[in-house]
C-alpha cells in the first residue's frame, strides 16, 4: 500500500519536473492538503527550486491586484517567459469555505500553455497568504516557470508575510485611499520594493504618488534585513551590508520607485517590469540577496519548528485534562499563562 503510494508519488514528482500540467495541479493539492507523502515530494522538488523570479503583489482590496497580475503576466509572456500565478483569497472564519474569484480578471491567458493559475484559500492563516503558499510557490518554481506571481488577499496594514516569500514585493495603492499620514504609518508600505499607484487615470492619482514619494523621502528601511532582525527569535546575527567598510550606504540602499499604472489598459506595465528587474539586479549586485535568503530560510525553519513542536505537544494533551484546566481558567482560579505551564508538564 505505502509502496504503491511511493511509486505513484515518485511519478508525480517526475511529471511536475517535466512541467506536466495535471501533475502540477495534483502536486499543489497534495501540498495544500498536507496529505501523506507531502514532505517527501517537496524534498524531491526542493533541489530544483530557486530559479524562478518570485514577485509578490499585495495591497488593499479593490486596488486592482488581480488585474495588475494579469497585465504583468501578459507582459512577461510577450517577452517569451513562462508565468505561474498563485492567487490567495480569504477563507470564511465561520464556515471554512471560500469564494476564490481572482481568475475572473485573469482570463486573458486562457489557452496559453505558458501560464498556470492556481487559486488558494487562506485556511485560517492571517498574514495575507495561506500556510501552504510558500510550498506551492516551490512547486511552480520546480515545474520550470520563469516567473511566479503571488497575489495576496486584500491586505490592510499588517499582512506582511509576502515579503518573506517573494524576491520582489509590489505594494499596490489606488487614488483616494488615504492621506500622507496613512502613508507614514508602519506596516505594509514598509515592505514595498516597488510601489504601484494603479488606476492612475482616476482623479487624485498625482496626489497619491506625491504622498508616497514624500513618505519615502522621510526615510525608508531600504535594507530588508531590518525586517527580520526585528524578529527577536532569530539567533542569526544581522550584519548591516554597510558595516564591513562597504560602499557608501547612499549608493547601496534600494530606494523603492513609485510607478503609475492603468492595468486594464496595460499602461505603465513595461515601466513596472523594468523596476522589478532593476530591484532584482540590485539584490544580486549589492550582495544583499544571499544575506536576505539566509534570513528567510532561518525564519522559515523557526516557523516550521514551531508547527512541529506545537503539534507534538497538543497531541499529548488528554481531552479530559484540557477540559479540567479550561474550567479552572474559566473560574478565574488559574491564569492563562500558568495554565499553559500546567499543560506542558507531563501528567
Amino acid at each position: 500500500m505505502t509502496e504503491a503510494r511511493d511509486t505513484r508519488q515518485a511519478e508525480l514528482v517526475a511529471a511536475v519536473l517535466a512541467g506536466q500540467r495535471r501533475a502540477i495541479a495534483r502536486m499543489l493539492t497534495l501540498v495544500e492538503n498536507g496529505r501523506p507523502g507531502k514532505d517527501a515530494a517537496l524534498a524531491a522538488l526542493f533541489p530544483h527550486t530557486g530559479k524562478a523570479a518570485i514577485i509578490g503583489v499585495t495591497g488593499a482590496p479593490g486596488t486592482g491586484k488581480s488585474t495588475l497580475v494579469n497585465a504583468l503576466a501578459r507582459h512577461y509572456r510577450q517577452a517569451g517567459r513562462t508565468v505561474g500565478i498563485i492567487a490567495v483569497d480569504p477563507t470564511s472564519p465561520f464556515s471554512g469555505g471560500a469564494i476564490l474569484g481572482d481568475r475572473i480578471r485573469m482570463s486573458d491567458h486562457s489557452g496559453d500553455p505558458g501560464v498556470f493559475i492556481r487559486s488558494m484559500a487562506t485556511r485560517g492563516s492571517l498574514g495575507g497568504l495561506a500556510h501552504a503558499t510558500r510550498d506551492a510557490v516551490r512547486v511552480l518554481d520546480a515545474a520550470g516557470f520563469d516567473i511566479v506571481l503571488v497575489e495576496t488577499v486584500g491586505a490592510g496594514q499588517s499582512e506582511v508575510d509576502i515579503a518573506r516569500t517573494a524576491t520582489t514585493t509590489l505594494v499596490v495603492e489606488a487614488p483616494g485611499l488615504g492621506d500622507d499620514v496613512q502613508a507614514i504609518k508602519a506596516g505594509i508600505l514598509e515592505i514595498a520594493d516597488v510601489l504601484v499607484v494603479n488606476k492612475a487615470d482616476r482623479p487624485g492619482a498625482t496626489q497619491t504618488q506625491r504622498a508616497l514619494k514624500a513618505m519615502l523621502e522621510l526615510g525608508h528601511p531600504g535594507d530588508r534585513l531590518a525586517f527580520f532582525a526585528h524578529d527577536s527569535q532569530l539567533p542569526l546575527s544581522v550584519q548591516s551590508p554597510h558595516a564591513n567598510g562597504g560602499a557608501n550606504p547612499e549608493d547601496t540602499m534600494w530606494q523603492p520607485p513609485v510607478i503609475a499604472t492603468v492595468s486594464v489598459e496595460g499602461k505603465g506595465i513595461a515601466e513596472l517590469a523594468e523596476a522589478i528587474a532593476a530591484h532584482r539586479q540590485y539584490l544580486e549586485h549589492s550582495g544583499s540577496a544571499a544575506r536576505w535568503q539566509q534570513h528567510i530560510i532561518a525564519q522559515e525553519l523557526i516557523e516550521r519548528m514551531r508547527d512541529v513542536l506545537v503539534a507534538r505537544e497538543i497531541a499529548q494533551i488528554e481531552p479530559d485534562r484540557l477540559r479540567a484546566i479550561v474550567a479552572e481558567v474559566q473560574a478565574r482560579r488559574l491564569d492563562p499563562n500558568a495554565a499553559v505551564h500546567v499543560l506542558l508538564e507531563q501528567p
Binding site: 500540467r21 495535471r22 495541479a25 495534483r26 499543489l28 493539492t29 492538503n33 477563507t91 470564511s92 465561520f94 464556515s95 471554512g96 469555505g97 471560500a98 469564494i99 476564490l100 474569484g101 481568475r103 475572473i104 482570463s107 486562457s110 489557452g111 498556470f116 493559475i117 492556481r118 487559486s119 484559500a121 485556511r123
Partner: protein, 135 residues
C-alpha cells in the same frame, strides 16, 4: 476533513449570474472552496480552470437554453484535458426532456429551479466522499 474544491462556471453568452452566485455563496457557507470564473467562459476555459485548480466537481449554470450545445462541448474539453473522472453537474433552466440526454453526455446531476441549496450541497458532499474513498 479537507475542504472540497468546486468550480462554478457560466459557459456561453447569457449574462444572468445570480443563480451561479447564490450557489457559490451557499457552497462557501457549507465550508467548500468555490472557484468562480465569471461570465462568458468557453468550454476550453472551463476545462483549463478545472485542471489547474484540481477541483472535485465542475458545476455549470446555464439559463440561455443552449445547454444541449454547450454541455457536450464542455464535457468534450474536459475529456480532452484528461478530466474524464471529474463529475460535471448542471443547474439552471433545463427542460425535463433534456435531462436524460445530458446524462448521456456525462452529466451526473441536473438541478432545476426550486432546488434547495441544501440538496445541492449534500449531493456534492456525496460526490467528494466517494472520490476520497476511491483514492
Amino acid at each position: 476533513m479537507r475542504a472540497a474544491r468546486i468550480l462554478i462556471a457560466k459557459p456561453g453568452l447569457d449574462g444572468h449570474d445570480r443563480g451561479a452566485k447564490v450557489i457559490a455563496r451557499a457552497l462557501r457557507d457549507a465550508g467548500m472552496e468555490v472557484i468562480y470564473t465569471g461570465l462568458r467562459q468557453s468550454p476550453q476555459m472551463i476545462a483549463e480552470a478545472a485542471l489547474q485548480e484540481d477541483v472535485d466537481v465542475v458545476g455549470l449554470s446555464i439559463l440561455s437554453g443552449a445547454h444541449m450545445t454547450l454541455v457536450p462541448l464542455v464535457r468534450e474539453a474536459m475529456v480532452a484535458a484528461d478530466l474524464a473522472d471529474v463529475p460535471l453537474i448542471v443547474g439552471g433552466i433545463i427542460p425535463d426532456e433534456d435531462i436524460d440526454a445530458l446524462r448521456e453526455h456525462g452529466v451526473v446531476a441536473v438541478f432545476g429551479p426550486g432546488t434547495s441549496t441544501d440538496e445541492i450541497r449534500d449531493f456534492i458532499n456525496g460526490l467528494v466522499a466517494s472520490r476520497d474513498a476511491r483514492d
